[in-house]
């Protein structure tokens, strides 16, 4: 049983890390801010979700259900904040791009 759980942890955490790597490659390679954000947030949310999922059995075994619940709570909070923050960053980037387009006219 423990062995099966350990294998589960290994596989799922590894999958999560893969998403992180993909997201990071996206951050480094994609051409503009919007595309980068798109790659980063999506991949990282799933990546973290998988890491948390993989660690859940270990947490329950080591510290009990409360610790596992805390990890899920962290993931949920991160879902909310990273989603909202990337939206904000996108807004800023979008407005900056617009300003750049309209430059040459009168300064604001």
């Amino acid at each position: 049983m423990t062995l099966a759980l350990n294998i589960f942890t290994l596989l799922v955490v590894a999958a999560g890390l893969l998403f992180f790597i993909v997201g990071t490659v996206g951050l480094l390679r994609l051409p503009d801010a919007l595309a980068r954000l798109h790659a980063l947030t999506k991949a990282d949310n799933i990546g973290l979700g998988l890491v948390v999922l993989g660690l859940l059995p270990q947490a329950v075994a080591l510290w009990g259900v409360l610790a596992a619940a805390k990890m899920v709570g962290i993931w949920l909070l991160l879902q909310v904040s990273s989603g909202a923050v990337s939206q904000l960053m996108a807004e800023v980037a979008y407005r900056a791009a617009q300003r750049k387009d309209s430059e040459g006219g009168a300064a604001p």
Partner: protein, 308 residues
């Protein structure tokens, strides 16, 4: 095995540190610095100092980064001085010398290491606290912590003193220049209640497990800033009596307990037996409140004219 964890952490820390001082876009430099704070937070965990890790992430990287971001946002940085190659070389040689000397000292520190841990362990029961770091902060070296709250207040007065004369009691400029957006509003409504709870928990738990007034205060300050940014509440008027009382509460509650020590115990800042823990908690409540208000106001900066 530990090197496998430590070496990458150290290398990342050095990389972001170099990025932060290298030239280029101000935002990129500040972002690198914020990453530096985060990495240092992990390193503090590796050094078995979770209280410091929390403080470093909340204050060192977090709120400090926020302040620096503001600077990056509205100050245009021009190259103030061009320094010659020779100067660069001299500086590099000096820095290398500092590194070599410091590294030598660190490697040659005496063995076994001198430590006050046994003394703290012996005296901690007298404080009724479980967290030794809180014990040092609030009891054994209470004077430093008391003065630390005064330092925050004085720094804030210094920041306020930069405002043009007629605005002395006015409101700081809004943190977020754009009209409040849906995403920010949503974020604030979801995160602020949870964050306030976390802040209070951090402070409350600090008596016995990692956490305390500084960490809790920093989280509470961040939540207030988020609420202000999202437009859920206005930036406070700095002349407000309640606000100013909140700023004074921490240092002066601490001072009051300290002075009472002369009369009900044996010395200044000596907590009387029997009510040690309630008194400590009371002092901590007051300083957490003051720290939260002071940190948030330090980020908000001097009062500024509202554009009509």
């Amino acid at each position: 095995m530990s090197l496998l964890l430590d070496a990458p952490l150290a290398l990342v820390a050095i990389a972001v540190a170099i990025r932060a001082v290298a030239g280029g876009d101000a935002f990129a430099r500040v972002a690198a610095f914020m990453a530096y704070g985060l990495v240092l937070g992990f390193i503090w965990v590796r050094l078995a100092a979770p209280d410091v890790a929390l403080t470093e992430i909340a204050v060192g990287g977090g709120i400090t980064g926020l302040v620096l971001l503001q600077a990056a946002g509205d100050a245009r940085f021009s190259r103030e001085r061009g320094v010659g190659l020779l100067y660069h070389v001299c500086a590099a040689i000096l820095a290398l010398g500092v590194f070599a000397a410091l590294a030598a000292v660190v490697l040659l520190l005496p063995e076994p290491a001198p430590s006050l841990a046994p003394q703290v362990a012996t005296n901690l029961p007298a404080t009724d606290l479980g967290n030794p770091v809180t014990g040092v902060l609030i009891v054994f070296r209470a004077l430093d912590t008391l003065l630390e709250t005064v330092v925050l207040l004085v720094a804030l007065i210094g920041v306020w003193s930069l405002s043009p004369d007629p605005l002395w009691r006015g409101r700081p400029a809004p943190l977020w220049p754009a009209p409040p957006s849906g995403a920010l509003d949503f974020l604030a409504r979801v995160v602020v209640p949870v964050g306030v709870l976390v802040g209070i928990y951090l402070f409350w738990a600090g008596a016995d497990v990692p956490g305390g007034a500084f960490q809790g205060g920093a989280v509470l300050a961040a939540m207030a800033l988020l609420a202000i940014m999202a437009g859920l509440m206005p930036a406070p008027a700095l002349g407000g009596r309640r606000l100013r009382l909140a700023l004074l509460a921490g240092p002066f509650a601490f001072l009051g307990v300290g002075i009472a020590g002369w009369f009900v115990a044996d010395a200044f800042l000596d907590y009387p037996d029997g009510i040690t823990k309630p008194l400590i908690i009371a002092v901590e409540v007051a300083i957490t409140a003051s720290i939260a208000v002071a940190l948030a106001l330090l980020v908000l900066g001097p009062p500024a004219g509202r554009k009509a």
